[in-house]
Symmetry: C2
Subunit: 467 residues, 2 copies
């Protein structure tokens, strides 16, 4: 979508919202649609080629809008309000445009400090004691779960995050698995002690025979193996755990197999990368994030399960005030996850997939991978830099090493090098540790990044290295 | 904010985003700000009166933008991408404008069915097996926790949600508490069996002496009381648990006190309603949702804690690839909740509070409460309707009852009545059960709802009753 088209439809949607917020009452507050009626009007397969915004916008009016329950209707007296307002919509628009991910102060200082300020404003506004500190959660469900988890830890002297529950259930992941797995293991009550890290090979991929040994040993020792997490594209180096072999081990022992493909899952939209998810027939659940590498603004994370009834049995609640006459015929996604409240995230995903078409998304991913390969080639050719992991997608792990400097000095040199690279303000790279070595990570994936930007980065890196 | 102002700034922000997405490279990818620098430029207290959008927009440029880390910069090679795109921004804008809350099929059929379609598109695009079903989560952290919870339940034959962990920790809430508490108790590993529902009085508020008895009894029996959840405004009837008395019981026994004020917390912005949160000095954690009744589009839930170190000790993870040199000086909100990834929700909240001013928000809330009181008055006067609970905020619980019809027939009559009311398409009310009686809920809280809309609702209800 070019700039003029974005502006044209931006204005048009702004106009539409301006009218909508004023005239919501012209719609029936609750749509007269039957289960399946809207789905039947939508194509089962994603569009291969880019579609015109005009067609998407028209379908919104003809297909989606007639199936919307109008929470902003003045006749909304149901459940509870979820009222919005023009300035809030403007703030959300701007948030989407900036597209920042606000996990840490570093990844958006202004977002963090503004959050400190406005939550304190709220504290003052409702008259909470001065010492209380605020943070924004997505929903009260999450906030309440957070309170229960904290209360549990306080009540056990912060022991249950470590020790877990009885019976002793075990979880397995590679030693390169993402930190969210350790956090999940703690919060879900397994106890960190029951997360077993499985050794990796020279490419930082899980060794399936080690997994098999660990599970067998645990079974003999009376533990109950509950979950294996295979990573397709680790955070540190995009290492690829061997899914078919891991799947066979899980099948043999009857253990749940979850796949964390958060970043690299998107690469599987390429025919030539489809092998990344070979073995997915063994998978019980899998996650990948369109909000990372598929042009969908944060947040939007796609979670797949082979047997939804397990998920629903785990999550479902059905108090009287949420029951409806259609419950048996429809998906109530509140029972497919942790939160009760849910935004309409499918809409932006629909816009993206239609607007780019699968082909457009493939072109972008292929281009990023090719830029990463070009960069890796430069690293190899250079003589005073080295690759520290295979380039399986669009991340290059490397460091400065002239082959003459003692290993003991390389961490410090590379740490200083990274600081100098980032000082430029023109590029931003982060680091990790691989086999205890300080490693620079060149992660290529921004929509607007061109070959020229990667070339410039390489120049900045080389220049920073000779200083 | 009037329609023309919304359109003017809508266009201006669309234009700004159009330029920004093209010219992100003109900004330093990582801002050169020190911890506390942005906060120091923001007022410590919320504005009492409405501020002009021009002033807010100018402050965005002068204060916020210089502290943004530009994830959309072509020189972004840090962490992982969180790339967005013009159609995605348009989709998010539209989502914010519609402001639907998509927890159930009923609360937005089109959202649910579009989610089914686009997650299946994704499944096809990355080549997952045909049987797998998809759902959108906010982040991979949440998805992974979801997988771990499901795996745990499968491994224990769905027993650990019920039985919980050792040592046996107990949670207490009133029998009117929200379903998300039961869900949280299950997911956090306490086990549903260890959630004790405390009896309520004739106003559906928790009896503090019953709470004291329950905790004392549990202590004698060797259980460990971990958490009490007081509700300020229950979902069914906005009953108000007596916070000071409950707080004293918690203090006496050393038990964590969490307050669920999701809906009614907003009412405490009124001086005359400040008493709702009297006793907040006893509180360890509290949640209220600006996305419900404070003009902030979904999602935005404010969570407050008295001692952040407990929260951080429970939640924190610190893998090498997330460490920065500033960690000791700043809040990293990833350690204040469950997800690693976080949107910049503070921005819309800032827009809302400044744009309306505390006064503007108070006016809205006061107005909603007064409309609910008017409606309750009509119910009382009518002679053939009755109130089923006190009106403590903006929710009226009532039913048709002419005083002559046998109690055994009233549930059916009121169920049919609600269906007829909603058939009109002009209003939408939902129901609950209070003391096992089918109860109609008139929840007033939409920004655009006027006295005329409430009067119309009352007419529709009366007309539906005589049919």
């Amino acid at each position: 979508m070019d700039k003029e088209t974005f502006r044209k439809y931006g204005y048009e949607i702004v106009d539409w919202i301006a009218d909508y917020l004023e005239n919501t009452s012209q719609y029936p507050v609750k749509p007269a649609v039957s289960p399946g009626e809207i789905k039947a009007k939508l194509p089962e397969e994603p569009p291969a080629e880019s579609e015109d915004m005009q067609a998407i916008w028209q379908d919104f009016h003809e297909i989606i809008l007639p199936g919307i329950t109008h929470w902003q209707h003045p006749g909304w007296f149901a459940y509870f309000p979820a009222n919005n307002s023009p300035p809030s919509v403007l703030g959300e628009l701007l948030t989407a445009g900036i597209g920042a991910q606000c996990m840490s102060w570093e990844t958006s200082p202004a977002a963090t400090e503004l959050e400190e300020v406005v939550t304190d404003w709220l504290r003052q506004m409702i008259g909470l004691p001065e010492g209380m500190k605020g943070v924004i959660q997505d929903t009260a469900s999450t906030a309440t779960l957070t309170a229960l988890l904290t209360a549990r830890e306080v009540a056990t002297g912060f022991k249950s995050n470590e020790d877990g529950m009885k019976p002793v259930l075990r979880v397995y992941a590679s030693s390169e698995a993402h930190s969210s797995i350790e956090k999940g293991v703690k919060l879900a009550g397994y106890g960190r002690d029951n997360l077993r890290y499985i050794d990796t090979d020279e490419n930082y991929a899980m060794k399936p025979e080690k997994l098999d040994e660990a599970i067998s040993g645990d079974l003999e020792a009376g533990f109950r193996p509950a979950c294996v997490i295979a990573t397709i594209g680790t955070t540190s180096s995009t290492a690829i755990d061997p899914l078919p072999e891991i799947g066979r081990v899980c099948r043999k022992h009857g253990v749940w197999l979850h796949v964390d493909a958060a970043m690299v899952g998107t690469a599987a939209i390429l025919e030539e990368k489809r092998e990344l998810l070979a073995g997915s027939g063994y998978v019980d659940s899998l996650v990948f994030n369109p909000h990372k590498w598929m042009l969908t603004n944060f947040d939007c994370s796609a979670y797949f399960v082979s047997n939804p009834s397990h998920l629903i049995n785990t999550m479902s609640i059905s108090p009287e005030y949420l029951r409806t006459s259609k419950d048996a015929q429809v998906n109530n996604y509140r029972d497919w996850g942790i939160q009760l409240g849910r935004r309409f995230r499918a809409l932006k995903l629909w816009f993206v997939i239609r607007s780019y078409g699968v082909r457009g998304l493939q072109d972008m991913v292929r281009n990023h991978i090719s830029m990463a390969r070009w960069f890796a080639g430069k690293v190899i050719e250079s003589g005073n830099f080295e690759l520290l992991a295979p380039v399986s997608a669009s991340l290059v792990c490397f460091r400065w090493n002239d082959g003459k400097t003692p290993e003991t000095e390389l961490d410090k040199i590379n740490r200083q090098l990274l600081a100098r690279i980032n000082e430029s303000g023109e590029v931003y790279l982060t680091h990790t540790l691989l086999s205890d070595r300080y490693t620079l990570r060149m992660s290529v994936g921004q929509r607007t990044t061109t070959r020229a930007d990667v070339e410039k980065a390489w120049k900045i890196i080389k220049a920073a290295a000779v200083r």
